[in-house]
Structures are given as C-alpha cells and as structure tokens.
C-alpha cells in the first residue's frame, strides 16, 4: 500500500517535472513572464479571506454598511495584491554565471546568480529545493549578484535543479513563485582527506622528496607579475605594463628544482572514494607548496604543471571520476 502510494507520488512528481520543463525550459538566463509565474494565496491570505467573511457576517448582522464596506475593501485589496505580486515577479531576469570559486564535497557550495528586473522587484526569495533561502530585498534594472547556498553537496557535477523564485510582496497575501532551470552545473571537488599513500614519483629520488618538483625563487625563468611593494628594486618593475596603465608591477622569476611528482589513482582500489579524497588533499597540499605535479588516472594523464589553473584541472578530473559508490562522508 505504502509502496503504491510512493509510486503514485513519484509518478506525479515526474509528470510535474516534465510539464515544468516543457513550460519553463532550461536556459542560462530566464525572464519571468505569465507563462512561468504561479500565484496562490498564502496562509495569511486565507486568514485575510476569513477576516473578510467574518466582517461581512458582522456587518450583515449589525446591518452596518460601513463594516460591509470595510470587508469589501479588504477583499478588493486581496484582488489588487494578486496583480501586484504578479507584477513584482514579471520581468525579473535570472541568469547563471560561472562560479569563480570551487568547493569541496561536504562544504557549502555557493552558486552565483545575477538578478535584474525592468521594474523594481522587492523581497525576492531564492533557493534550491531544500536548501537555505537567499533574500534579495530590492532588484532593479542593474544586475544584482546573488549567491545561493547548496549545503553538503556530493562529489562530482552538481546540478542543483530548479531554482525556486518566490515573493510575497506586497502584503504577504499571495505567494507568487516560479521554478526556473538556469542550467547550472558546478564541479564539486572530492572531499580532501589527508594521506600520503597515493603519491608516486616518476624517478625514485627519495632523498630529496620534499624538495622535488618544487620551484624556488630565482632568476632563470619568468614566473609572472606581482604587485609592486615599496622598496623592491626598480629594475624588476614591469615598466611596459606600467605604461599600459596597469599599475606598478614587479616581474618575478623562478627556477625549477628537482623533478615533477606524479599523483596516481589506482583504478582497482578497494575504496576509490577514499583514494580520490586523499588525492584531492594532496593536490591542495602540493599546490600550496607550489610544487610541480601530474596526475595519472588509468589512461587519463594530466601533464605535470603547477598553479591555480592546474589545480582546478586536476581536481576536476578527480571530481568527475564516475561514481560507483556513494561519496565518502565521515559523518
């Protein structure tokens, strides 16, 4: 009995979802209109209607036209509010942007959204199903960045699904809402767990392992530009960039030290999630130490390199490894 009930529920949800995806198809940017806005009274709205009925009876029983008038005014205000709550959401544009930060499984992940509205919109509540609310008090024509939270995501490609946009403006009598699919995809890195065992070295130079694959500051190779700090040699200043109006920058040089390291993932590992977590931890560690490292995952290899770009590349590779088991969580 319970099973069939659940089945019916699932069926309804499926139908609803497919109807929604036909009505409000996924897009990077969605502008709400009559097609995508739903309005129903809130609990307070029903209380309001009850008050109207009570006042109407009250006015009828006392044959008091003014009380009746007040009750009609309340009813009429309810009607006005429906239009206003529609107007509040109509013309609201939501668009997804690429996230600049990446987060790890188990940590809250923040998804950036841009909000704008042709006419001002107030008190917009945004959230993904079951996730914390984000409230934008006022949205105007200028894009307003907003950050939505997804608590405890799993490793891999996060698809938070439909975003619920809701507003009870202006009187809280009606709830106008929409479910928009902004086609959001975000890579959630594996949860880092400390451990050394997956580290492997290309050359068995065990004596200088800590130094291997690491650059030290030097003069041979151009590393990049950094902000000029008062007192640094003026010879190092990147005058060309300064002339371009990019401010005072200092050229940094470095030299490689030792051979690069390889992180390897054993495809036959008994607990691949744990291995992935350890690899993620090591990736962070090595990046922090500015070491050069590569990744070997079966046939996929990422050539040794270093820096933020490389870190993301490696972490993404680790994160997108097909899931066989539920993600490792230590809770």
């Amino acid at each position: 009995m319970i099973l069939t009930f659940a089945a019916i529920k699932r069926q309804i949800k499926f139908r609803l979802d497919s109807w929604l995806s036909r009505r409000i198809p996924a897009a990077k940017s969605v502008t709400l209109s009559h097609k995508s806005i739903f309005i129903l009274p809130t609990g307070f709205g029903f209380a309001w209607i009850c008050l109207f009925i009570i006042l109407f009876l009250f006015g009828t029983n006392y044959q008091n036209n003014l009380v009746m008038g007040l009750s009609f005014l309340l009813l009429s205000m309810f009607n006005t509010c429906i239009i206003y709550s529609y107007q509040n959401l109509a013309g609201l544009t939501l668009s997804s942007t690429q996230s600049s930060t990446h987060s790890f499984a188990g940590q809250p992940s923040y998804i950036p959204i841009l909000l704008s509205s042709k006419s001002s919109a107030f008190e917009i509540q945004l959230n993904f199903n079951g996730q914390p609310l984000e409230i934008a008090n006022k949205v105007v024509a200028q894009s307003l960045p907003s950050r939505l939270t997804v608590l405890q995501p799993l490793r891999g490609l996060l698809r938070p699904g439909r975003l619920k946009v809701e507003s009870r403006y202006p009187l809280g009598l009606c709830r106008a809402w929409s479910h928009v699919d902004l086609d959001i995809k975000q890579v959630i890195f594996a949860k880092p767990i400390s451990g050394q065992d997956t580290l492997a070295y290309n050359l068995g130079a065990r004596d200088d392992q800590l130094q291997s694959g690491k650059f030290i500051a030097g003069i041979d190779e151009f590393k990049g530009l950094k902000q000029y700090v008062k007192g640094e040699s003026l010879k190092q200043v990147a005058w060309k960039q300064w002339a371009q109006g990019r401010g005072m920058l200092t050229k940094e040089f470095q030299q490689p030290q030792g051979a690069p390291m390889w992180l390897t993932f054993d495809l036959t590992a008994s607990n691949p999630e744990l291995s992935l977590s350890k690899l993620a931890w090591q990736t962070e560690q090595l990046t922090n130490k500015q070491q050069i490292f590569g990744l070997k995952m079966g046939s996929n290899t990422i050539a040794p390199a270093k820096g933020e770009q490389h870190r993301i590349k490696v972490q993404t590779q680790l994160a997108l490894f097909p899931k066989k088991y539920p993600a490792y969580r230590d809770d």
């Binding site: 307070f44 209380a47 309001w48 008050l51 009570i54 006042l55 009876l57 009250f58 006015g59 009828t60 029983n61 006392y62 044959q63 008091n64 036209n65 003014l66 009380v67 009746m68 008038g69 007040l70 009750s71 009609f72 005014l73 309340l74 009813l75 009429s76 205000m77 009607n79 006005t80 509010c81 239009i83 206003y84 529609y86 107007q87 109509a90 006419s119 107030f122 008190e123 008090n137 006022k138 009870r168 403006y169 202006p170 009187l171 809280g172």
Partner: protein, 679 residues
Amino acid sequence: MWLLITNIAILSPLYQQVTVWSLAICTICIIWRVGIYLGKVAKPPKWLVTTLAFASAMTLAMVANKIGVLTALINLLILGYALKYIEMRNRRDVQVVVLAGYFLIALTFIQQQSLWSTLQLLVVTFINTCVLISLYHDENNFKHAAKLGAKILLQSVPLAIILFVILPRLPPLWMVPPQGGAKTGLSNTVSFANITELTRSAELAFRATFSDNTLLQNSALYWRAIVMEDYDGTQWLQNPSIITAERGLTNPKSSNTAGLQRFAPVSNNVLNSAKALSYSVIAQPSSQHWLFGLDRATSQDHGINMLADFRLYASKPIDQQRLYNVTSYPNQPLEPSLSPALRAVNLSLPNNSNPRTTRLAMQFAAQYPKETDRLDAMMRYFTQQPYYYTLRPPAVGKQQIDNFLLDNKAGFCVHYASAFAFMARASGIPARLVSGYQGGEYNSAAGYYSVYQYMAHAWVEVWLPARGWVRFDPTAMIAPERIEAGFDAFFDPQESYLADSPFGYMSYRTSEMFNQLRMQFASVDYFWSVWVLGFNTDKQQRVLEEVLGEVTRIKLAMFIIVSLGVIGLSIAYSAGLIQFHRSKDRHLNAYYAVCKLLRKRNLPRDYNEGPLDYNQRVAAAFPSIAKDFDKLTRYYIAIKYQNIGNKPQKKLSRLLIKQSRWLKIIIIKQRLALNKTNT
C-alpha cells in the same frame, strides 16, 4: 515604526468603549513597546504575557454581564491586541496584530458612523495596511511604504464600491448582542424638569425628507414620539396598557395581556382617500425604540410597528442611524370613538391634587358648557394673564400646577401642557400629554429638515366627540414665535442649547457665512446618511436599475464581469504591467504633441526644420501663442541639446511637460472657438 502609529491610531477612536483598566494596560503596553523600539527595555517574558492575557480574559468574562457582551468583546480584543503587540517577535505576530487591527476598525464602525469618523478610520486602515507593506519592504523606507499603501488602497476602492453596490444585502443571520449605548433623547416620563435638559443639547435627533419636496409650515411639524396618559401629581407617564403593548413587540414571547388591551390601528383602506404626506426619516442612534412621525403616521417598513396611540415603534432599539419611510394623514381623526375604559384613563387625576387649578377648571366648565368653547377659553386664559415663557422657571412646591398656573406664571412647554391637560381633565374633557419634537431646520441645498434635540417639545391632545384626539399647544399662546418660526427665533441660543458649549460650532449659527458652510456640511452628512449608511435593498435595486435599466441576471453578470475586467486592467496599467506603445522620450513626445496640433492648423514642421526656425514661423503665424511656444522651444532645446546638471534637468523636464499641456489646451480652445465662428 508603523506599528507604533497604527496601535495608537486604532485604539484612540475606541476609547469610549474601553474600560479604565483596559486603557491602563494598553497604555503600559504601548510605553513598553516604545521602550523596546528605542532599545531601552527588554521584551517581556512569555509567562508574564500569558498570565496577563488569562487574567484579563477571566476578569472580562466576569464583568461581561455588567458592561454588555459587545463591550466586553471589544475590551477583550483590545487587550489581546495590546498584549500581542508587546510580545511581537516575527512576521507572523505582526500579521496577527494587523488582522486584529482591521477587526477593531470594524468594531469602531459599529459605534461611530459619521462621515468624519469614517474618513478618520480610513486613514487608520491605510496606516494598518502600511504596517503590512513595511514587512515586505525596505523597513526604513517610510515614504515608499506609505506611497505604495495609498496606491493599493486607492486601487482597491473601485472594486469595493462595485461590490458594495452589487452584492445582495442579507437580513441579519442571527441575533447579536445589543450595543447597550447610553439612551439619549426623550424619556417616557415628562416632568417639570426633564425637557430643559434636552433644550441644552444641539445634537441632531433625526432628519426628515418629504417626497415631492413638500414644504411645510413650522407650525405643522409636530413630531409625535410618546403619548402620556397617566398623571401622578408630579409627572406624566405612559399608560401601562401601552407599555405592555410595546413590550409585546420587542419580545414576542411575553404575551402578558393583563389589564386594558389596546390594538394597533389597522384600517388602511379608510386612509387611502385622505390627503397623505409621505416622507422618510433618518433617526440618529438613541438606544430607544420610539420613532417620530407627524399626526397619524403609518409605516410599512419591516421592524416598525404602529401602536394604539398612533405612534411608530421600532422592534429593536435604534443603535445605529436608521432610515424608515412614513406616510402621514394629517386630516384623519385619531380614534374617533373612545372606549369608556380609555376615557376613564384620560380623565383621571390624583386625589386632592392642585385644588386651586381644579377650582379654576370647574369655573371654566360652568362658564362654557360647550367643550370647544371651554378649551378655547382655557387657551385664551394663558394670554390674558401675564404668563411668560422661560427655560429657567422658578421652583414649584408640592401642588406644582397650582404653583405654576396661579403663582409663578412662568415656565416652558411642559408647564403649559401639564396645566392645560390638567384643567381639561378636571373640567371633564379627556386629555393627554404628547412629547416629541416641534419644528425643523430646513436645508434647502439637500431638501430635508433637521430636527435637533433642543426642539424637544410637549403638547396636549384633547379628545372631542367625532373629531378624536385634537392637538392643543398652549405654549403657542405664550410664545407663538416658538411654534411658527422655530426655536431659534424665540430663544437666544447662548441661553439654551449653547449654554453648555459656548464654543461649539453651533454658536456660529448667527453668522451668515458660517451658517452657509454649516448647511453645506450638513447636506454632505445627509447624503452620506442616505446613500451610504442607509443603503439597503431598495436603494440597491434603484441604483442598479438606473445603471442597467431592467435588472436581469444576465445583465448583472455581464456588468460584474465588465467592471471587474476594467478595474483589473486599470490596476495592471497603473502598476506598470501593461504599457501602450509609446516612444520612450517623454520630452520628444511633449514637443511633438504640440507640433502635431499645429500641423492641423496648417503649420506643419518640416522634417529638417530646426526647432528655432519653426519657432519663428509659429510666432509669425500665431502671435497669440508666440510667447508660450517660445518658452516650450527653449525648454526643449535646453533639455535636448544642452548639457545641464541632473537637478535642473528634472526641473526643466517638468516645466516642459507642463508647458506642452498648457499649449495643447490653448490651441484646442482656439480651434473650438474658430469652429464656432465658422458655423
């Protein structure tokens, strides 16, 4: 912030209903709230609020019998409101407070219905709404919330009005507790003391509108309210048989028919031929049952009864303004045949009372055997002797009529009426005292009579064979101006009804301009009473017929749908949802609109013609608008082509649009004038 205002605004109009201690609790709550708002006081602990709420509910339940159920209910609501107000924590609490606020406003409407207090309460409603808006809006943006609140409210008014007009009026669905207001106006006993109190009151008693704009002499306006047939030596009282009949009407269960039975007059077919006066009366709330009518008054309205003494009597006390329709038959005799029992009632006098007056009456009886002659002689007696009319008569002793009639010779209507009725009875003619109002102030703008409390009056009805009860007003002999020209002509208002309120606005009565203004206000108030407070099924039918012709269900439905559609669209438009296609540049539009009008007057602007060149041509062709058009052109150029700051830009923009409007009006006017001269 809004909440602070709303609380005080909602509670203040209800202060009359609130008991002292609920008022005290409310004050404490408000002060506490201000403290919380300023961050000086902590929020009260929950147990304290709960205990207080319980205690006050219990106390109110106990005193409910004493102060009346409705008042108790109001007090309970107010207390709950005030207590909820200090323990407000989240949005939900505020919502509850706001809903309770609306309910309290409705309760206030039950008590107060004047136009003025309605406007006041509308403002309160607005403030209450703003509280809700501030919940969903930037909390600090006071002005914006107010603006939006006003917008929503105003946009809701048309639909509310349509609902008000269209929705059917139902009769009361169940019995409601009476409001138990203080009784005002006449009382059912009349003694030498009590009408003077009324003459000090400038309050409105009722208003009457005659159909076909009948104008009546002041001396014809004797509004009967109470008939008193028993005299006990100090005061005149209603006969118990009438009181029983009245009670039977208010409470149909008590069918106590002991003693003299009196039946209401029913013979309507007899009356049809007679000259009829029909009018409607709007009685002010008095918490009494009796209504006012002229002479032989009949009414077909629901809830109004006709009594055996030809008075109108409401089944329920007049707690709110009440409109009723009356048809009077001034020439119809009242009770042409008097039953012996009733005759005895109207002849009886207490033993050994006023022996000197009795002797005087006997002299009249001996001198004038014919009843009409005798009554005339008695009336004349008041003019022959040095009687004078005063609202501050000297004190009387135990034989009050003797003292007045033969010693003091000074008094007001009750004195004269009592003395006359006493003499008539003593000389063997059935007589009774009638109290009510005499006269009325005619408002020519709205065509109705206002009758104020100070117009309260008492007179005598004497029974004559075949003629029934005939009205005699001995006061008219002493102070004929009082009857013919009205109360104000005879008395200096300062001495009577203004004595208690020297600065009341009635004291400006004497000034012509203020009087005009007062009349204007009175007319507005009158229309308010008739069309809003007195809006009932009849009026509803009439309005709908006026709008729709014959009212059919389909027509009504169509009317509702169309009006709903129009209202919905207009709200949507004003909310900025629907926009008609229009160029975005308002300045360009404003300028072009004028050019378009000029094109119709055969002065089109060329496509490549600059505004300055065009300006010169316009000035040459139409010197009458040259100056104005020059102004418009200058504003336009300044906005379009000159780089000015933001603020002057806004100011100029306003000026430009205003100028454009002004020019349009002038040009259209000129064209209309031109058309006229051509045809």
